[in-house]
Amino acid sequence: METDDREGNRMWEEDSSHKHLLDVSSWINCIVASKTTKDTMFARGIKRKCFDGEEDIEGTLAGFKSVPSYNLQRQSLLDMSLVKLQLCHMLVEPNLCRSVLIANTVRQIQEEMTQDGTWQVINAQNTGQASLDRLVSSDILCRSTKEQNEGKLVPSYSGFSKDFENTPSQDIISDLSTVTSVQAPRNPQSNNVWEMENSQENRGNFQKSLDQIFETLENKNPNSVEDLFSDVDNSYYDLDTVLTGMMNNTKMGHCDVLESFSSQTTTNSNSNCKSDINELDHIVEILVES
């Protein structure tokens, strides 16, 4: 598609956005999120499954101010990097060099964690979700962003939640769906570390992991959140709204959250349909009453 014409103008042929980097990171998100819940659960209060025998979260919080373990440091570095990569949605194009360096750091950490054996995909953390739901979501996730943008409806959607309309602004949703929806390992045949993982396993866990990402983001130590977001242009990308929106949605259940995010971008017509339907109902009500 891209003509290798040295003399030609290239700009219009190319997409210089950093979505690809984001996608890498978002996939890393999925797998890492399982680690995230283990190591950096600031406010969860859930007793950790410790591979290295540390005490539970309260004890760790108290001891947090003293020397953090190497794993903890590494994990927090990883989280910081992922957040940095995700905060690329500004009005001005983000710095490619910076994004590449951060992505490389993330890969490096992930490689090390894989070698350490601390990179286990957590199957045991399934908390009783219908496997069917998860498969549905994986389907959405595995679809490319392009398809989503072209407005293909998700055939497997069954009923929307009413809370659907409370989700935050379109821009943010679309950004998030880019993050969430393009989860599938680019391809099993792509030559990166993901080949080592069982891609089936990965897909199965995306659903769960995504929720964990959102929850991790919202549960982050507020101070670090401030620091991280201090130079973000809030007027354009109101993360607070996003986080609030997400918190509102968590009660819907994980599947619904994903569905709502994805379908928000797939097409506006979904929500339009929905509001149309509501209006129609409303009108019918009035007619009937009269």
Partner: protein, 484 residues
């Protein structure tokens, strides 16, 4: 509009003494090779000091983003975040007072780039001037190239100090004369007028880059120049704007495999076929345009193996080269990465011949610097005219100079607060725990928002220009044109 005031600081060696009450200092070296400069803050005759920009935006739009001397050092150009270029000119030394060094005054100001909006991608294109490069002067006019993220412009700077007077058909105001009043013919003559500097855009080189342009470099053939963005380098002819040749392309077929970007590039000062580009992984590639049209294969790869004892998750980030400069002689290259400056010999690819620590005390703070993004700051570096001293900026408005011959180095500060008129500025020291001398600054009290990213050294004399956020400092060594 810009108000211009210049801070002129003279720096001199030990045992200086005052000679007269204006701003003339004489230098008296205590011993040869004693490179311990002191600085004195001075004001010019009108009592004006620092270069200030008067703007409603406050600091934002006036942050200086690039500084560059022309080939003779007579002109100094600065570009800022608001897309403006300000050119300073050195006043010629007057013969009456041979000891008075020429000062730099504002010569011209113009708006080079405007903010643009890319409708296709819904993204703003910043007007910030990333780089300015002067063309070698070929006639009475001066020319420079200025670039923002996407577009390069060639500007011509001309002076007009005479105008024709005595037209036959028009009077002084330009109105047509009543022909009946014209009784004789005269030849219009050129009469002197107030100097007017005119700047006009001569070429606009647009649409050559998808990614953000980080460097431009004029070739020694004076006909071509190159522009480099994150993934590609293009070769342009100065007279042709609708076409450029791609000479380096490191974009992978699958963008997900992208792990390295181009960070800086420069043509060799003498060999018009050679150029170097640096990468975010800390490597330098010297390319020869005679080898092939697309110089993806380097002729030489300069890379220093990583020191395993210093390895951390930040190793790659701090090894990313932020600036590369050929020496004036063309034999060496100077690179700047986050913590060091390195001098490379073009004949040795395995490691640099010299490495200087700029601020090694930051090595233990890399995690915090990563968190606040300071670790991505791109510092520039500069050679002096004789390639014996190198200079680079740091935090807290400090800048560092390293004498390659004596191996001595010094840390100096560019700030108003610590410089009183006619006071002597001492070299600064950053202490790292342990014993602390008076006036030392501790690492924790460094101000990381005050960074000196852009510095320039006069091509022949000991005059340096330091951009500290929105202030420009010009330091002059009174003594001489001699190099240390």
């Amino acid at each position: 509009m810009l108000k211009s005031k210049i801070l002129v600081i003279k720096y001199y060696l030990l045992d200086a003494e005052w000679v007269d009450s204006t701003f003339f200092w004489s230098l008296n070296r205590s011993s040869p090779g004693n490179f311990t400069p002191y600085l004195a803050l001075l004001e010019n005759m009108e009592g004006e000091s620092i270069y200030e920009v008067d703007s409603e935006d406050g600091v934002g739009a006036d942050i200086i983003s690039t500084v560059e001397f022309n080939h003779t050092g007579e002109l100094l150009a600065t570009g800022d975040k608001g897309g403006r270029v300000v050119i300073f000119q050195r006043e010629p030394e007057s013969k009456n007072e041979p000891h008075t060094q020429g000062e730099y005054n504002v010569y011209s100001t113009f708006q080079s780039h405007e903010p643009e909006f890319d409708y296709l991608k819904s993204l703003e294109i910043e007007e910030k001037i990333n780089k300015i490069k002067w063309l070698p002067q070929q006639n009475a006019a001066h020319s420079l190239l200025s670039t923002n993220d996407k577009t390069i412009k060639l500007w011509k700077v001309t002076e007009r100090d005479k105008r024709p007077e005595g037209y036959n058909l028009k009077d002084e105001e330009g109105k047509l004369k009543d022909l009946s009043t014209v009784t004789s013919l005269q030849v219009p003559v050129l009469k002197p007028m107030d100097l007017m500097v005119e700047v006009s855009p001569r070429r606009i080189f647009a649409n050559g880059h998808t990614y953000h342009i980080n460097s431009i470099s004029v070739n020694s053939d004076c006909e071509t120049y190159m522009s480099a963005d994150d993934l590609r380098i293009n070769l342009w002819h100065l007279a042709i704007t609708d076409r450029s040749f791609n000479i380096v392309d490191i974009k992978p077929a699958n963008m997900e495999d992208l792990t390295e970007v181009i960070t800086a590039s420069e043509f060799h000062p003498h060999h018009c076929n050679l150029f170097v580009y640096s990468s975010s992984k800390g490597s330098l590639r010297l390319c020869d345009m005679r080898a092939s049209a697309l110089c993806d294969k380097h002729s030489k790869l300069f890379e220093e193996p990583e020191d395993p004892s210093n390895r951390s998750f930040f190793s790659e980030i701090i090894s990313s080269v932020s600036d590369v400069k050929f020496s004036h002689s063309g034999r060496f290259m100077l690179t700047r990465d986050y913590l060091t400056v390195k001098v490379w010999d073009l004949n040795m690819e395995t490691k640099p011949i010299e490495t200087y620590q700029v601020h090694d005390y930051l090595r233990s703070k890399l995690c915090s610097l990563y968190e606040n993004d300071c670790i991505f700051d791109k510092f520039e570096c500069a050679w002096n005219g004789s390639d014996s001293v190198i200079m680079t900026g740091a935090y807290n408005n400090f800048f560092r100079m390293f004498d390659r011959n004596t191996k001595r180095d010094v840390t100096l500060e560019a700030s108003r607060e610590s410089s009183k008129p006619r006071a002597i500025l001492k070299p600064r020291r950053v202490c790292v725990g342990g014993k602390r001398r008076k006036d030392d600054i501790s690492v924790d009290s460094l101000d990381f928002t005050k960074k000196i990213l852009h510095t320039a050294w006069h091509p022949a004399e000991n005059i340096i220009a330091i951009a500290a956020t929105n202030n420009l400092y010009i330091f002059q060594d009174k003594v001489n044109s001699e190099m240390h």
